[in-house]
Symmetry: C2
Subunit: 344 residues, 2 copies
């Protein structure tokens, strides 16, 4: 089959690889209908996150179950399924607690020895705990919305929950990538009174408004902090969603968070590490989040998508064939595309 591999910084290829087949009785094989490129894939593309030459890549996909192992009971051949970006057994203490990303038998697509999402098919370990089937009569037009639930929408939701967003919250979202925009949508969905979207790109700001942003801050650095303070009577935001993961984005998040507020962070930490407790302590600022257990949120978010109450699909602004996936990376790296759907 054909699948995406990464050979070094900027070196994305589509190659012939061994077909995805069952290896364990708890596996399923999924034929990928749609995949996409993630902002976190770009860290590998830039060479910041290390990969072995030829390693698979991509961790977001929806598709059709084409084979199941003898122990799989929750999905059948022919089911259309959404895969969260990590697999998990659904039965260990962490899965029971809703932290499927810490599952004792868990892993992430594209890790050494495993298929990535950007390919024709994927061997799915722990299929019962991992895959979420979509009703058979669901409209195929919803496929991009389903795809968003494999990572970015669940990740934005995790940021919002981790920041403590409740009805009436004053929220600010740092980062206008697909996750940040989904954070805007999640905060709005949770009943935030104000959602301040931060970012410089007008096309992304338009999506943010569509997703419920009440204010837009296009300044950066200290000017952005001042602007958010102005918008909030000097207090700052009670809930801040940090959706980037760099030192400047954390500086902004700490600058705009209200005393007693919380920062929910889902940006993969890059750059200098080390959060000052002394600053957090005096201001009673809490910090929560991390790698999002999107499997936990999938049923709830899927129900909203199916009911027409939730549509994150505007985060996708391009679709490219699998064979052109290198162009998808380049377009996203050059900020010419927000998030690209890849179609095998």
């Amino acid at each position: 089959m054909r699948a995406t591999t990464i050979h070094g910084p900027g070196d994305i290829r589509v190659e012939d690889v061994p077909d995805a087949v069952l290896a364990e009785p708890t596996d399923a094989v999924v034929r990928v209908e749609l995949a996409c490129v993630c902002g976190s894939d770009l860290w590998a593309y830039r060479g910041v996150s290390k990969r072995k030459p030829g390693q698979r890549i991509g961790h977001e996909f929806v598709g059709e179950v084409v084979d199941v192992g003898s122990e799989v009971t929750s999905v059948r051949v022919g089911d259309r399924v959404i895969a969260p970006f990590t697999w998990s057994d659904g039965t260990c203490e962490y899965c029971a607690a809703g932290v499927q990303t810490s599952c004792r038998r868990g892993g992430i697509w594209g890790q050494t020895g495993h298929d990535g999402g950007q390919g024709e098919a994927v061997r799915v370990p722990q299929a019962d705990g991992t895959l979420v089937a979509v009703p058979r009569d669901a409209d195929a037009k919803l496929l991009p919305a389903f795809l968003s639930l494999s990572d970015v929408m669940g990740t934005g939701h995790h940021a919002a929950l981790s920041a403590g967003v409740v009805p009436g919250s004053v929220v600010a979202v740092v980062g206008d990538g697909a996750v940040g925009l989904c954070g805007v949508l999640a905060a709005s969905r949770l009943g935030a009174e104000r959602v301040i979207a931060m970012g410089r790109h007008e096309d992304r700001a338009a999506v943010a408004r569509l997703f419920g942003a009440t204010d837009q801050v296009s300044e950066r650095g200290e000017a952005a902090v001042q602007r958010v303070r102005e918008l909030t009577g000097g207090l700052g935001a009670s809930a801040v969603l940090e959706c980037v993961g760099t030192a400047p984005s954390w500086e902004t998040a700490l600058g705009i968070v209200r005393d007693g507020g919380r920062i929910g962070y889902v940006g993969v930490p890059h750059g200098p590490d080390g959060l000052s407790l002394k600053d957090l302590f005096n201001r009673n600022v809490g910090v929560g989040g991390g790698v999002a257990p999107v499997r936990q949120y999938l049923p709830e978010l899927l129900a909203d998508v199916l009911a027409g109450r939730l549509d994150p699909s505007p985060v996708f602004d391009r679709t490219m064939p699998l064979e052109d996936v290198a162009d998808a990376y380049r377009a996203m790296e050059d900020r010419k595309a927000l998030k690209v759907v890849v179609k095998p």
Copy 2:
């Protein structure tokens, strides 16, 4: 009047100072009935936290209102009152949000230009927002329990809330000082299923058991982490109360917290600063807490004390006259006393 002053490391004195008198119409003057020495006073005593020579010290007291300014309406002369360790106006946005420690008109007893708690009387700014009156018929035997609400019990409660303790939680408390012990009591009061108290002192462990600790870990460092892991089926504690504030105590807290869990911290941060986000991110560990808004918790905790449901007074193991306050510091610094009541 007589009051405690600090002149340098280890140099605690009782001196004649100007009488506490009203300065603003929003002030009250409180004659101190009982005060006490805090673990955080010891940071100043050791010279780690800087103080001006002759600065007042002490931030926990209960007493009788002996004078009120013209604008004070919530307390009257003759009322017995509890003072939280910071004053606050009770009306600003932060007070309304329950973060009185960030009050725009707030401050802390003993700061430059203000009376400390370890003296005969205190001028109380923002009396209406700050003081909590005790019913006039309350038993005087409850005075030490009331005194605990001025800081340590409210601070332990803040740690427990910040760590997300709910009925059924598996809790571990790092630190067996008065705040740590109150953290045990708070976690137990909030319905924790297990409360693992960590500390080496048998007399403190006895108080921890009295306060509801279900397990005791006397090991330190990596051995303590291993022991907590053993006690929790390898998972660690879902809620960790960090009640010390040093680098080793944080290392322990991070070692024993369960993936997806939270660390509630109230130990004033000392030592190397900088929390690794990368570690927290992969494990979805949240961090919250800070300087406790005990004023927020006072009514609720006081109601429990008055009803006989809550008694933190066993954290006090000695009482000394004000003139001997230097001995009280020495006894606590030498670990010969847990927490000393000071009686003017």
